[in-house]
């Protein structure tokens, strides 16, 4: 790889990041349930992506690549650190809704859906987000999550089964406001 290759990759990453910041933040929020952590995750992801831009494959989508970075920072560094710090997880069931709540008051259905998604186990929540929220194919989601496509499918099936039960049995399963 020569210098001009390197600088082209860096340029592509530098230009690719700004339009993705909000989406990265949203992914961080879905993972951590906490807007500060989401912000920290985006920052760390940007730094890492710029540092490692030589690993970026030109012509592929910057978004997929940086999602992978964000996720690996969350899984390998932040998530466990939060536990070690004794804070545990910020309760995502509350935080995910609370952070968007001001913007959301007029959108009760969206809020209801997010409350339900928050209740899903992390793996299912993430699969639902990537496939239905980000509109990724099963294959793309599997690549980001580093799992077989079949596992994405079973997580989605499990999530939809739970959500169906919620619909059938009503909202009393949800935490009180």
């Amino acid at each position: 790889m020569n210098d001009s290759d390197l600088s082209l990759r860096l340029k592509e990453v530098q230009e690719g990041l700004p339009p993705l910041l909000k989406r990265l933040w949203r992914y961080g929020l879905v993972l951590s349930g906490d807007s500060d952590t989401a912000h920290d995750l985006v920052q760390a992801t940007c730094l890492r992506a710029l540092e490692k831009s030589e690993q970026f494959q030109p012509g592929t989508q910057v978004s997929r690549w940086v999602y992978t970075i964000l996720r690996s920072i969350w899984m390998n560094e932040l998530r466990s650190r939060r536990v070690r710090m004794g804070q545990g997880f910020v309760d995502p069931e509350i935080a995910l809704v609370a952070d968007g709540i001001r913007e959301m008051e007029t959108n009760l259905l969206a809020r209801q859906v997010l409350r339900e998604v928050e209740r899903l186990p992390e793996g299912q929540r993430e699969a639902v987000f990537l496939v239905y929220g980000e509109g990724l194919s099963y294959r793309e989601a599997a690549d980001i999550l580093g799992i077989p496509q079949g596992t994405v499918m079973s997580r989605l099936a499990a999530a939809r089964g739970k959500l169906a039960d919620l619909k059938d049995h009503g909202d009393h399963l949800l935490p009180a406001e």
Binding site: R23, D40, L41, Q43, A44, L78, Y132, G161
Partner: protein, 284 residues
């Protein structure tokens, strides 16, 4: 085509069917098998009931994203990545952007430069956040808390009445600096909010600690004593007002709504308490 009874009608397959992730031939085969399998149809209906307008719901979170703050963060990251900052110390306080009077270095800038040196040499400061430097080992929250206050206190300790008099005094520049801090922090900093009956507003500086915006809003007390209200974002839980002394200055600090606040100055404790109470009420 495989016989219908051998067609996979697992939940996974049915979800893929609903999500249109099957090839045309698989889809046709699955539909045919479903038509002969009421049990699988029941499962399909259940999975369908588990569908939601997910896209719309997640879009709401996208709209809630703190765009300005994220863009400011990115600009800052890019600055740090630049070749000029190859030796960038991780732990120092530096002004984000310095409003400069032409031909003259304001005193407060010199104070800033001195503070940077002081901080670079002390090193090892931690901040309220736990993720500013992903390479460093995790530190306990308890160890981190004094970090930003110590950094800011060192800086504030260098301020004198003359320092503040050297800061931009025209209302437009003051407002612009206040807004810059407001955007970087994602916290409303209106004139009303920072007004304090016993303090005269002198200006706002947007500093950074470990890449994290740190606002310092400066005042004069009794027309001669610098007092600063410092604000930084923090992941730490809310905490009531506490007192301490740093570098010969009295300090009252608290955490509310994801922000760490510190009021600092060489003002007797009871008066500083009162000043802090006013700010505390405005930012709650």
């Amino acid at each position: 085509m495989a016989p219908a009874e051998h067609t996979d009608l697992s939940d996974e397959k049915l979800v893929a069917y609903l999500d249109e992730e099957l090839s045309a031939s698989e889809r046709k085969q699955t539909a045919a098998a479903l038509s002969r399998n009421p049990e699988a149809r029941a499962r399909l209906e259940r999975l369908e009931r588990g569908g939601r307008p997910f896209g719309d719901a997640f879009d709401v979170l996208l709209e809630a994203a703190p765009d300005t703050r994220l863009q400011a963060m990115f600009a800052d990251v890019m600055t740090k990545q630049g070749p000029a900052s190859a030796a960038s110390a991780d732990e120092k306080v530096v002004p984000f952007r310095q409003p400069l009077a032409a031909g003259r270095v304001p005193l407060w800038r010199m104070a800033a430069a001195a503070a940077i040196l002081a901080l670079v040499f002390t090193g090892g400061l931690a901040t309220g956040g736990f993720f500013d430097n992903p390479q460093t080992p995790p530190q306990l929250a308890a160890e981190q808390k004094p970090g930003w206050r110590e950094a800011a206190a060192r800086y504030v300790a260098l301020f004198s009445k003359e320092t503040l008099e050297g800061m931009p005094s025209d209302p437009g520049a003051r407002q612009a600096n206040l807004q810059r801090a407001e955007q970087a922090l994602g916290l409303k900093l209106s004139g009303e909010r920072i007004a304090n009956p016993v303090l005269a507003f002198q200006g706002t500086q947007l500093l950074q600690l470990d890449g994290k915006p740190l606002a310092q809003i400066s005042f004069l007390h009794d027309g001669r004593t610098p007092v600063a209200l410092c604000i930084i974002r923090t992941a730490n839980p809310p905490q009531g007002a506490q007192k301490e002394q740093r570098h010969g200055l009295n300090v009252v600090h608290w955490i509310a709504d994801g922000y760490g606040f510190m009021v600092i100055g060489k003002v007797p404790e009871p008066e500083l308490n009162q000043i802090s109470e006013t700010f505390k009420a405005r930012f709650s």
